[in-house]
Every structure is written in C-alpha cells, then in structure tokens.
Amino acid sequence: MDMTTLLIEPLATRLGALQKRDSAAHTRLVGTLPALTPRLGDDAALADLVALCDQTAAAVPGLASDLITHLEYLLATLDVAGLRRWVLTGMRLYPNHPALLARYFRLDDPAAAQSMHAEANGFRFGAAHSALQYYLAGFGLPDVVLKARQQHDFNALPVRTVISEGVLLFPEHYLAIEGAGNGDIYCAAAAHALAHLNYSRRHRAVNQRKPMLVAVLSLIEDARVERLMARKYPGLHTLWGRFHVASGEAGDLSFASLTARLARALHDPYYLDPNHWVNKGRELFQENADRLDDAAAFDEVGNILANDLGQMRVRFNPQQYRVEPAYRDDNTLLWEFEEDQQDTPPEEMLARKSAQVESDGSDTESGVTMHILAIEPDMARRWHYPEWDYRAEIERDKWVTVIDAPLVDSGAAAPDAAQKCSTARNIPFDTTTRLLDRSIRLRRQYEGDELDLNAAIESRISLRGRIAPDPRIFQRTGRRRPSYATLLLLDLSESTNDRIKGTYTTVLDVEKRAAAIVAESIDRGQDRIAIHGFASNGRSDVRYARIKDFDQPFGDRQRQQLAQQRGALSTRMGAALRHAGSCLATEQAEKKMIILVTDGEPSDIDVYDSRYLIEDARYAVGVLAAQGISTFCLTLDQRADAYVRAIFGAWNYLIVDDPTALPLQVARALAKVSAR
C-alpha cells in the first residue's frame, strides 16, 4: 500500500520540512516509520515524533540520523513526550559537544540509558494537573487556572513557572536531570508559588536596577518567602530541600552556580560552601532572619550581594540565566518591567492578561513557519474504521477516516434553530422496562422468593392470638428501570439545508429543534445523552462533530454549538455509526442506543454504486447490535422505505411524514427503543 496516500496532512508537511533540512534523516525515518507505527498508536503521536526529529535536526544539524537509528528501541520504553524529554536531557548534558551528543543518541553513553529509564515515567504537567488543582484549592485558591507552558525552542533553557493573578503556568515537563525525581516537583512549584502569592510584594517597578541586581533581589525574596511559608508549614522546608542540589565542590564561579549555591545555603543551614560570597550571603540573610516580614531589610542584603558580584567581575547574561532550583518560578510576578525592554514570551503576556481572557484552550497558532513546527493542539483526532464491501464480501480494514472535530464554526447563530423549549418534559423513556435489582426489597408480598421474617412472625402471632393473619408474608427483590445512554446522531449533509415544503424552516432546523427537546427532556439523574453530527467528503474525510458530549451539560455553549451547525457535504452513514458506537463503548449505561436522524439515503462523492453504502451501513448496524447498542433511524425521506428497512431492520425506523412533527417523533422513537 502506498504510504503517502494514507498520511494525514500535518504529518506530510512535517516530513517535507525534515526532508528539506536533512534528507539523510528523512530517508531513514521514512524507512523506520512502518515499524514504529504500531508502537505509537495514533497519527497525532506519529506527527509529534516527526516534528521532534525535525526539531532535533534544526537544533543540532546532522545528528537527527543518529537519533532515528534507535527510535524503535527507545519507543519501546518511552512515549513521544518521554522521548522528547530524553532528547532534551541529552542536549542539556552536552550543550556544545555534538560528538558527545551523537554518542548519547546512539546509546553509547551510559547517561543515555539512565535518562531513558528516568524519563520512562516522566514528570509531566498533564499527569499532575488535577492533583495540583486540588492542592491549590486546599490552600485557598480554588479558581486559579493552571496551564502548561511549552518549550517551543528546542535549544532554549528550561522554562520556569510563571505566576500571575488567577493563572499559573507550569512547565510542560521537568527533566529528571533537573532533580525532578527527588520528590513531587510540581507540588514544590505550587507551594513556592503560594509562598509568593501570600507574602511577596508584586509588580515593583524595576526602575534603574540592573538585571543582575534584579536577579539577586529575586533570589533573596524567594528565600524570604519560603522561610515565611515554612514557618507555617514546616514540612515544605524538607520538600523544597530535596531540589537543592547545587554544590560548590567544582569551584565554579559563574553567576548561575553562585546563585544556585546561595539559594541552597539560605535553605539548608548544614550546607557548607567554599565560596566567601555564598557564606557572606548566608550571614547577611541570617542577621535579618528574625524579622522576615521586613522586606526592605532583605533588599539591602540583595543590594550588597549584587554589588559584591559586580566587584568580583562575575558576568551575568539575562538570556542565559534560569532560576535554580527548577521548582522556583521566573519571578516576573515581583517586577514591573518597562514596556519597551520587555520581551516576555506571548504566553506570559497571556497569563498576565488572563484575568480578562477566557481560557477556552483554543490557542491555535496561525502562520506556522516551516523551520520549526509547533505542535497544534490535539483538537481534531482521527480514527480509522473498516468498511464493508458487499461486492467483494470483505470488510476493508482502516478504510474510512473519521475526523472528530468541530465542523465549520461560522460564528453567528442560526435564528431560533435551537431555541429553548420548555414543553415536552420527561417524555422520552418507556418506563415499563425493568431490571432486577437486589438492593430493592419488596416486603409483605403475597408471593415471593423468600419469607419476610417480620411478617411471618407477625402472622404466626396473629394465628396464636386467634386473629386473622395477614397473608402477605413473602419478600422478593424489586426491579428498577435501567439507565440509558443515548447518542443522537444528526445528519448534517448538504441536503438538510432544503426547506420543508410550505415553510421557511429547513430540515436542519427541525433536526436541531428535535435535538434540543430531547436533550432537555432527559432525566439528568439517570440517563446520559450526547448529540453528535456528521457529514462526509469522501472516505478520507468523514467529519464528526460533538455538539454535546455525554459529560457536558446542555448549556449555553452546547446550544450555541448546536445552532452553529450548517449542512454541507454528504452522508456516509456507516462510518458515522461506527464512530458513534465507539463513543458509546465507554459508557457504563445498561442500555445504549443510537438514534440517527437523517433526510436521505447514504451517499458520498467517491461512491457511485448506491447499494454500496447502504450495505455498509447495514453491516455497521449489525456490528453495533452485536455490541449491545440498539440503533434507530428517523428519516424525513418519504421514499426511504427501500433502504432504511434494509439498513436498520423492519422495526427500527420511522419515516416522518410531517417534518414539523419530528421533535415529537424523536421522543416517541426514544420511548420505542428503550421499551425493548
């Protein structure tokens, strides 16, 4: 099979970029891709991997081939994010030694194996996110927004946490070589941020202060607020202490080393450092240690220390400096830089402004240049499904690609399409279906499986007391109605834009109204409903839109989503049904059903045999039935008899004569399906 035809678009562009930059690496990568694909699972990971190779080729020219040689081995242990951390670790270890880095990539360096194992479990923001959110809520910040801060430039220094009002940006990952393995580094970072938020004066004007002074003052402030915080929470001292790993044994006199050691000396009273400046810093700090609330006194300490550094001719390059240890933040919270000299990365600006900015996670980057490809957010996920070819009687594996993403987001809402409907409450489900539930006990029954002891004793007592006994002495287990998960699948093809005869309403409008009514009338406590839509543009592009997912409420946003749907393209029913089935697969409900609302027979631009898609849809319905998912079709096509019966079976469809009655019919269909 020709690989390139199956490749998704971003992957192809990325491969192209790599080819331009390093054709040897490109050839090698294309050679290994087939072996790697099963390890990676989905296309997004594959695209990430290619982007990673491309970034490596850009950052260290000529070394990408070395990296690609052992990809298969590496990816057995690491995922792509882990691989990225592993590559970054190599670059951090050998910043200006391509030869050593090549050894690392070729796994000839023991550090490579070490780092591979250390990064296998990784320290990612994604894994820590919700725990952090809870942690901060416990400390009184329930509404703070937490976001990952990505490192776009591969060769740049590691990013640090950014703190601002209402938003905390944490690094997307920490590397094991930064000490991330010594403890819960995200927790330490959050605690440090809390220390600043509790005790630091924010946004002081920088004025004439030199960058080095600002850095030293920030360091002293870090130590001060940590002490204040540890006074209240003594355990934090130990937590932070684990990440202080700087040591003066090598006699390094660079600014980065000296400040990291000073930070450690201020933290750990037992740490011994050979350097006079570090020890002087500790003494000066200690003199003021009993009045930690007096920030001015500590400014004085910072001034003296920075002055000393100047005298020592220690050079400071703000671009090459990162606060150490890794859990600390970049201290931009403390200072107000003047606008013109500020080169804050855009996401920090975002963080600062985000009191007003609503975070919807859709910060797509436009105009991506060719040299470094930013990873787009994983909004459109691709899924491959088989399709049934009735002529050959085979199921063609991975034949159709379903793109699970919002359809066209055209902005303006269609008027009244999904208007709030206050009628038709609580109609949908037939309440006669019952499941046995042992937690419900029906006592005092005329008949039952076991004796109700209390009733039986009372009955005997009555007999002895010569009173007519109550004959209801049995108990049995009760029944309850099952829970339902319903997926309402709307046909969003071009033909739904047709107007219903004699009105100005389109078929789509009616579909939307029906969806809104059903979503509102469902019993939220017991049943779950999702509203999805689909349209197709050939087998490689079946678009699938999640208007309302099972976990979402039917709120304003969902209403708006529903209203924004436009009819376009064709109807590849089988693929959509299969994808709907996989959406339902994770649901826990006892009864699962898909209600398909459509206006015509399945069709698509690349299919000329009208029976082909009908047969495929029939096959899909059969597979769903085998998975325990019932399907039901509501069609507005008056001539649908010929094919809906073939697809859904004799009892599972309804041809709606009067389109305006569709909402009511949908509700009836729900009742009908649920009654089975």
Binding site: Y134, C187, L239, G465
Partner: protein, 269 residues
C-alpha cells in the same frame, strides 16, 4: 428512675468543648421538651454533644442508628414468641417514652419516610405513642425527649425528611469548631501536644476547602483525633495522617495526592 432505663444513664462526664451557645440552647429546648434536630457534617461532635447533654441533664440516653430496612416495629416494639405464647417487647422509642429517657435517632433520614411518621404523635403537643398492635396508648413520660440527627451534606435528594416531620422539631446547626477550639479538642482527646494538634487541624482545614472540589466532605474532628492517637502511640505523623485522615476519605488518586501534599506541607515526608 425505672430499672428499665437505668443502664442508659451516662455515669462519667463526656468531654465536650462548647463552640457556641449550643449547651444553653439545648437546655432551654429540653425544659420545654421540644424535639430537636442536630444537623452537621460527619464527625463534628453531634453524638458527643448529645451524650454530654444527657449527662448534664442526668437523663438516660437511648440511641438508635437508623437504616433503610428499619420498620416501625423496630422503633415501637413487637410481639415475639416464647414457650408460653406471644410476648410484647417494647422498642427503644417506647421504652424512652414510657420511662422518661432521651431517645436519640442517629442519621434519621436513612430510615424510610413511612417509618419516621410514627414519631409524629410523639413530637407534637399530644406527646402520645399509640401501639396499635397492643391496643395501648402511651402518654409520654414528662422527662421524655426525642432528638434526631442528620448530615444534610451527603444525602441524596430522594432521602430527606418530610416537611411535616421537619416542622415538629427545633434544630441546632453544628459545624466544625474554630481552629483554636478544634486544636484544643484534638489535643485533649488524642493526647498529642498543641503543636501537632495544630498541624492536624491545619491539614483538615485545607481538606475542607476541597469540599465540592473533589471531596464530598473534609477531614472531620474525629479523624484528626484518631490520627493524633496514632501519633501519640509512636507512629510517624505523616504515616498516621495518611492512615487515619487522607486514605479513608477518597479513592481518587489526584485528590489523594493533593491531600498528601497538605500532610507533607505540615509534617514533611
């Protein structure tokens, strides 16, 4: 006092640290024999308060934990069989009403609503308890009082008291006590020093901030006392807190991580 209820008398003073004017209020309510509801989160001291008041008022206390399977006859009593024939056995509510004790129904909403209505005639001005099976009408003893407790937080909407039941009662709302008082309680009950008690209370307060953000209920005073007792018994504080305070209340890994983070902040790890 009748021999039937003497065993229910509380002999020694239970430790109770008042957090407001609840002692005074309850005494006034008892003077009128007004039925009372104690509301409040679990482990905040409702039952302890009841014991303390029973001791203070020198009334026997008959406690009954309610559950869904409880029937009216579990409360008022039933006929049982013995060799001679049938014998009537008074239920706890009947004993209390007949001989003048305080009847305390714990977690009353757990009982079904049709069960709880049998307390209606006892809780209005009639103060009677008809035993239909026995054909007897009990006029409640002048010392009898009915107290029920429940935790409004975690019951589902379907489990609630009927309005007609609620309106027969007065109510006292219990909360976790303030930090200082809670520290004192934890230190007294578990025997740890004030410093450790304070840290335990700090952890619990952090966890209570998570109520509704992942936790149904924060760490209660009772849990802290248990943790404190473990610490006093020589268990390392962070281990004791994990065992007695954080692990029992949630199964969610992320919440647990955050709670362990609070422990780490106070006790290290």
């Amino acid at each position: 006092m009748n021999e039937q209820i003497r065993p229910y008398l509380i002999e020694t003073e239970p430790y109770y640290h008042s957090a407001g004017n609840e002692v005074e209020l309850f005494e006034a309510a008892y003077a009128l024999r007004m039925p009372m509801i104690f509301k409040g989160p679990t482990g905040c001291g409702k039952t302890r308060f009841m014991e303390y008041m029973a001791w203070r008022l020198k009334r026997p206390l008959i406690t009954l934990a309610c559950n869904e399977d409880m029937t009216a006859s579990d409360l008022v009593g039933r006929y049982l069989l013995d060799a001679q024939g049938t014998v009537w056995h008074d239920g706890p509510l009947t004993i209390a009403a007949r001989y003048g004790a305080i009847c305390y129904l714990d977690e009353v909403v757990e009982a079904r609503q049709d069960t709880t209505v049998i307390i209606h005639p006892l809780t209005d001005d009639r103060r009677i308890l008809p035993l239909d099976k026995r054909g007897e009408l009990i006029h409640a003893h002048s010392d009898f009082q009915l107290v029920v407790s429940y935790n409004p937080g975690y019951q589902s909407i379907t489990k609630d008291l009927k309005q007609s039941t609620k309106q027969r009662f007065g109510a006292i709302d219990f909360h976790y006590p303030s930090e200082a008082i809670e520290t004192e309680i934890v230190a007294h009950e578990s025997g740890v020093g004030n410093d450790i008690a304070k840290r335990l209370v700090g952890i619990a307060h952090k966890s209570r901030a998570l109520r509704g953000h992942g936790l149904e209920e924060g760490i209660s005073t009772r849990m802290m006392i248990r943790a404190g007792a473990l610490i006093r018994g020589g268990i390392a504080p962070n281990l004791a807190c994990r065992l007695a305070m954080t692990k029992p209340i949630t199964d969610d890994d992320d919440v647990l991580r955050a709670l362990d983070g609070f422990i780490e902040a106070y006790f290290g790890s």
